[in-house]
Amino acid sequence: MVPESYYTALSAVLFSIGVVGVVIRRNPLVIFMSIELMLNAANLALVAFGHRFGNLDGQALVLFVMAVAAAEVAVGLAIIVAIFRVRRRLSVDDLSLMRW
């Protein structure tokens, strides 16, 4: 039997790695994947809390997070592809304006 605090500790580690990934990488696709990593860390914490308190609300919330993440990835990748079509290169340092 693994204590739930182990899971939340792992979740904290994964979330921090995701934050560092968002800051140090320049490729928007990798930044996106780091955001997915953070979402997953939060999901893991939610499931661990749900397990700890013996109810299913955490799991229901994780399901909604998954749906929102799916929608977010689809729209985000479409935006990245649209930007790439216009600018022919991908680096978040070039994208300081909300227009092209």
């Binding site: 490729n27 994947m33 499931v47 397990h51 689809a74 479409a78």
Partner: protein
């Protein structure tokens, strides 16, 4: 036994997460993320969330990662992060800041180590489904609207000459 399995999975998840943010090649990062999502799915199983483990594999490792790999293949990045870094000072700051965040989160987790655990079985996929269609019925329906909006938005963005 469960503890050993947890530590193996935790090492796998942490290592693959580090691989994702440290590998220069985006496609390697995507494959690392698949490993990470898979190990988290096994952790869900260990926490008794069978339905979420299946959904994790199908939705994340299946659908979302296919989308990612497809986008990476279309855009052919990998050359973008080679030149000189225009914001090197900020990026060097990222590691201490990330470590500070980890310390903060770890402090929160450690502060709750001795909290009493509420006993009780969480329930299976059937119970989760009943919960979704009773208490969370409205958010569940809103999710379908959200997915439809995302689909329409993506079609609009992906249109040629949009």
């Amino acid at each position: 036994m469960a503890r050993a399995a947890f530590f193996v999975l935790a090492a796998l998840a942490t290592g693959s997460a580090l691989g994702l943010i440290l590998k220069k090649n985006a496609i390697h990062g995507a494959l690392f993320l698949v490993v990470n999502l898979g190990s988290i799915a096994v952790l869900y199983l260990m926490l008794g969330a069978e339905f979420l483990a299946a959904a994790q594999v199908i939705v994340y490792a299946g659908a979302i990662m296919v989308l990612f790999v497809f986008a990476i293949m279309v855009l052919i990045p990998g050359k973008e992060e080679t030149g000189p870094d225009p914001r090197r000072a900020y990026r060097l700051l990222a590691l201490p800041l990330g470590a500070a965040l980890l310390l903060l989160l770890g402090g929160v987790v450690a502060g709750r180590l001795g909290a009493p655990a509420a006993a009780g079985a969480a329930g299976d996929a059937g119970a989760l489904g009943r919960l979704l269609f009773t208490r969370y019925l409205f958010p569940f329906e809103v999710t379908s609207v959200l997915l439809l909006a995302a689909m329409v938005g993506v079609l609009l963005l992906a249109r040629r000459g949009a």
